[in-house]
């Protein structure tokens, strides 16, 4: 019942009629509540015990009296005047709100029969108190009918498509049947949307017919003078005339218009009775000064009632037609703005201060409206948000929660025989001492705050069946999230670890799936409140379960930065005394040294092998193309780098670990590997030096040679172009061809520089190690520092902007040389020439703009894609279908492979056979 009435209030255009099944129930609840006289249940602890018991009994009784019904269908329609009167509990006749004592006037807009908004009062209609009574509708009888502004277009269509004499639809008898049938078949085949489209088409054709096929009467042209006046041949049709015509439309014809005559007769679209929403919908606010401030809707309704009364008086007094018509128009205006205060042709109704009133449509519509803000809005309790920071000492599936936050977020735990003593300790400590509790919840759902005063009572009261909302503790589960949540990996379940300070902390390894960094990013943490939610989060969302990405079938989570370069250094160049190795391993959290050979001096590869499972076999390639072989848990050949250990589509070693040992074990090994890498660097040291990018003279000479020849080559091409000897590429002009050729030559020269750098670079320099292992940076970056920054490309071309015929004023007009169009010959370490620096700055600015503009655009594209695909799913026959069962793909992904269970989207059957 409650739901039904609220819906009616909200869906003011097409009010709902929930089919009878949901009804009743109300009376029964009423009875149950009857004995609960006086004193609300926010009881005093000093009360006598019998009283307490009695109330508990009542509460239980009230709960048992809920009657559960199933909604079998919902019908949308327009409410009839009869229905409006039936559901109303008061007739409103006066615009006055309160009498001299400040008590609501009977028959006024704040009539007590419309519900309660003051604490302590009881509802005259249902007898329940504030918050229990959901409010009741009232009605006013309009002195003259007015048209419902939200239905004006339907009324317009109906008027134009029906005969002015006999009110039949302007379609011959035989055709009506045919069209009705067609509508039914199209609905069956293609759904309700298609039916609506066809109705629209049918109606569109009727507007030009000027002779009724039934009674042969001539039809006049009817126009709608916005917002709500109908004109027939320059003569005005009053709402009374309109209603008369609509009344005459037979039920059978309504169907053709797509109107269900049982739920909504056309004439009901012209209002004779206006429903008054309950006061609970428009509560008044008492200001500090004791003054009452009414809701916008009440103001608007006051206007309506006032004008309505005046209209009544004038009609009864036999006032001249002009006065009555003016008042009628005014009534129409007020009713219209009551529904919608943003009608294009109407000035919006305003407060005395000049700000427009917020009426029904404003409440529902747009981003701040009921639907998008309240219904589709996803705000929750039991969540936290702060800045994030890294903590590599955390496990990968942990999240560090500040103590202050842990004392606010709670987990409800049900008291039973076995944990009663344990939970009592929490209550004893209360909200102020860390592992304490903030609330207890009685079995009837009543929440009680624990304070120093209520602590004793709460402790005494506590018994099995009660719940204790205790502070968040280590090991609790939480869902950790960073927006934009584009991924399922953007929300993962972590274990709570309560830590000091004020940031949420995460292992840097999970930055990749969240796309997080620590330049001020904030993240959200949600604490599931029920066993079911916790189980679901643990099984479906925990970090372990998300290692393999459903996008490309490889791990998204892997070592980053120091984890990669550390293991690279360890496996490639280190060896140390056994004692040191043990120290290193134990600082990385490895306690089992049985796999470490008993030699005096152990190699880095042997140390690394100690963290791998003993029966692990792996074959792969390193970044530089060497073979990597792991046999029986021993790294026998090759080095560890990004290809083996990395995340985001690399990390082949991790992927095969995952396949063989499962998610949980992989996380453990990954954490060990990461710690080992980090600890290695702590021991060995890693720091980028300026001298890392120093090149021997020989290399510098070679680079200068490359650049000189490239410039020479470009000049030759330019000469050829000027002489007209250049051959154009297909589909390109000569000038374009020239530009392409120049670009190609210059880009090639930079690549060549890169090759030289790679050849001469000191492989033991830290920057080179970082690039070589794939931890961070690349050879391209290094060659840009030590050799040449290269051509600056703006929108696929060399830089052309600037002055007329030249980029900067110190070049000659028409200069086509590399330097004049953004070729930066020098490396960053050597330093750029002023013009080179300028060109480089152009590009830097451009890319900044580009990212700033592209992000919202691609975000919107993604949103549309996600919305279009939200109801697709893979059926048991491997076809992809939408909610209507329509086929989108005959086989999922055309190959039927679940990418998350594949390796890089492929399933290698031979490999599976070999391994088993």
């Amino acid at each position: 019942m409650a739901k039904k009435e609220e819906e009616k209030m909200e869906g003011e255009t097409k009010e709902e009629l929930v089919k009878e099944e949901v009804q009743e129930e109300h009376g029964e609840v009423d009875e149950a509540k009857q004995p609960m006289e006086e004193a609300d249940s926010s009881e005093e602890p000093t009360e006598a015990e019998e009283k307490k018991e009695e109330m508990t009994r009542e509460r239980v009784e009230a709960m048992q009296h809920f009657v559960f019904k199933q909604v079998s269908s919902i019908v949308f329609g327009v409410l009839s005047p009869k229905m409006l009167k039936k559901m109303a509990s008061a007739k409103i006749v006066t615009p006055e709100l309160y009498d001299k004592e400040g008590y609501p006037v009977d028959g006024g807009l704040m009539d007590v029969r419309l519900g309660v908004i003051d604490p302590g009062l009881r509802c005259k209609t249902c007898g329940s108190k504030l918050k229990e009574c959901i409010g009741h509708f009232g009605y006013i009888e309009l002195a003259r009918p007015v048209i419902h502004i939200k239905l004006i277009n339907i009324v317009y269509d109906l008027l134009r498509s029906t005969c002015r004499e006999c009110s039949r639809i302007l379609i011959p008898e035989d055709k009506i049947k045919k069209i009705t049938k067609q509508l039914d078949t199209i609905e069956e085949e293609e759904g309700i949307e298609a039916r609506r489209a066809m109705v629209k088409k049918v109606i569109a054709d009727l507007k030009t017919i000027n002779k009724c096929p039934h009674c042969k009467a001539k039809q006049n042209k009817i126009t709608l003078e916005k917002p709500s006046t109908f004109m027939e041949n320059e003569k005005r049709l009053s709402p009374i005339d309109v209603r008369a015509r609509l009344e005459k439309i037979p039920d059978e014809d309504c169907v053709v218009f797509g109107i269900n005559p049982v739920a909504s007769r056309p004439e009901w679209m012209v209002l004779t009775i206006l429903p008054i929403p309950p006061v609970t919908v428009r509560p008044s606010i008492t200001l500090e000064s004791g003054e009452r401030s009414e809701d916008d809707l009440t103001h608007k309704l006051g206007d309506i009632v006032r004008i309505n009364q005046r209209l009544f008086e004038n009609i009864n007094a036999g006032a001249p037609e002009i006065i009555i018509e003016d008042l009628w128009d005014l009534l129409q205006y007020h009713v219209t703005t009551f529904f919608d205060n943003n009608i294009a042709q109407l000035p919006p109704a305003r407060h005395r201060s000049g700000q427009p009133l917020k009426t029904i449509t404003d409440r529902i519509k747009s981003k701040e409206g009921r639907i998008r803000h309240n219904l589709a809005g996803k705000r929750t309790n039991f969540c936290a948000r702060t800045v994030i920071s890294p903590d590599p000492m955390l496990q990968i599936n942990e999240v560090g929660v500040p103590l202050t936050v842990a004392m606010k977020l709670t987990v409800p735990e049900t008291v039973n025989e076995w944990n009663a003593a344990y939970l009592k300790k929490f209550v004893e400590r209360g909200p102020g001492v860390y592992p304490g509790a903030n609330y207890i919840i009685r079995p009837d759902g009543k929440k009680k705050k624990i304070t120093d005063e209520t602590k004793e009572a709460a402790l005494e009261e506590l018994q099995p069946g009660y719940k204790v909302e205790r502070h968040l503790m280590d090991g609790d589960v939480g869902i950790f999230n960073r927006q934009p949540s584009l991924h399922r990996m953007s929300m993962m379940c972590h274990r709570v670890k309560v830590l000091p300070y004020r940031t949420l902390r995460l292992n840097p390894v999970v930055c990749a799936p969240y796309n997080a960094d620590f330049d001020g990013d904030e993240m959200n943490l949600h604490i599931p409140q029920t066993e079911e939610a916790r189980a679901e989060a643990e099984i479906l969302m925990e970090v372990q379960t998300q290692i393999v990405s459903p996008r490309y079938g490889l791990s998204v989570i892997g070592c980053i930065h120091d984890g990669i370069s550390g293991n690279y250094i360890l496996t490639k160049m280190l060896s140390m005394p056994r004692e040191e190795a043990v120290e290193l391993l134990s600082s990385a959290g490895v306690m089992d040294f049985s796999q470490l050979p008993g030699k005096k001096v152990v190699s880095g590869a042997e140390i690394f092998s100690a963290v791998l499972p003993a029966d692990f076999n792996f074959r792969g390639k390193s970044k530089s193309g060497e073979e990597v072989v792991i046999e029986n848990g021993k790294l026998v050949k090759g080095v560890m780098d990004k290809v083996s250990l990395g995340g985001e589509g690399a990390g082949l070693l991790l992927r095969s670990l995952h396949k063989k040992y499962g998610a949980a074990e992989t996380v453990k090994v990954l954490h060990r590997i990461l710690c080992l890498g980090v600890e290695t660097l702590v021991k060995h040291g890693l720091s980028a030096l300026i001298s890392d990018t120093d090149m021997p003279d020989e290399a510098n000479e070679k680079i200068q040679n490359i650049l000189n020849t490239a410039e020479e080559e470009v000049n030759q091409v330019i000469e050829k172009f000027k002489a007209g000897e250049l051959d154009a590429y297909p589909g390109k002009t000569l000038k374009e061809t020239l530009e392409l050729k120049i670009l190609e030559i210059l880009n090639r020269s930079r690549t060549k520089c890169g090759v030289v750098i790679k050849e001469y670079a000191n492989k033991n320099a830290f920057s080179i190690i970082m690039a070589e292992s794939g931890a961070v940076g690349s050879y391209l970056n290094i060659s840009q520092i030590s050799a040449c920054a290269g051509q600056q490309v703006l929108r696929g071309k060399r830089i052309e902007k600037g002055y007329k015929g030249r980029t900067l004023s110190h070049f000659k007009k028409g200069d086509l040389s590399p330097a004049a169009h953004g070729f930066v010959r020098h490396g960053f370490k050597h330093g750029l020439k002023p013009h080179e620096f300028f060109f480089h700055a152009i590009l830097g600015r451009d890319s900044l703009m580009d990212t700033a503009l592209r992000t919202p655009k691609s975000g919107y594209l993604y949103r549309r894609l996600a919305n279009a695909m939200q109801d697709l799913r893979v059926e048991y026959d491997e076809s992809v279908r939408d909610a209507n069962g329509r086929i989108i793909q005959f086989k999922y992904g055309e190959d039927g492979i679940d990418v998350a269970r594949s390796e890089s989207g492929k399933i290698d059957v031979q490999k599976i056979i070999d391994e088993t």
Partner: protein, 80 residues
């Protein structure tokens, strides 16, 4: 002189073939189709030229697929 081009021979146009009655029954049974689940294709679609397709026929389209090499797709013929 405008040259008549047979678009069905073009590389970008996948192969469309008419499905036999027996095959049609097999497809309908396998996918448990009741009527409107299949994607549609207009009878007037240029790729159907020369196939003599009727309303309700099923067209088999053999496409090159990036993931599966070659994939089969079905469409139901409709008129306007």
């Amino acid at each position: 002189m405008a040259k008549k081009i047979d678009i069905t021979k073009h590389v970008l146009v996948p192969k469309h073939t008419l499905v036999s009655e027996a095959e049609k029954k097999r497809i309908t049974d396998n996918l448990k189709l009741s009527g409107s689940e299949l994607p549609r294709i207009l009878k007037t679609d240029p790729a159907l030229a020369g196939l003599k397709a009727k309303d309700g026929d099923i067209i088999k389209i053999t496409r090159i697929s990036r993931t599966a090499g070659e994939t089969i797709f079905y469409r139901r013929v409709i008129s306007a």
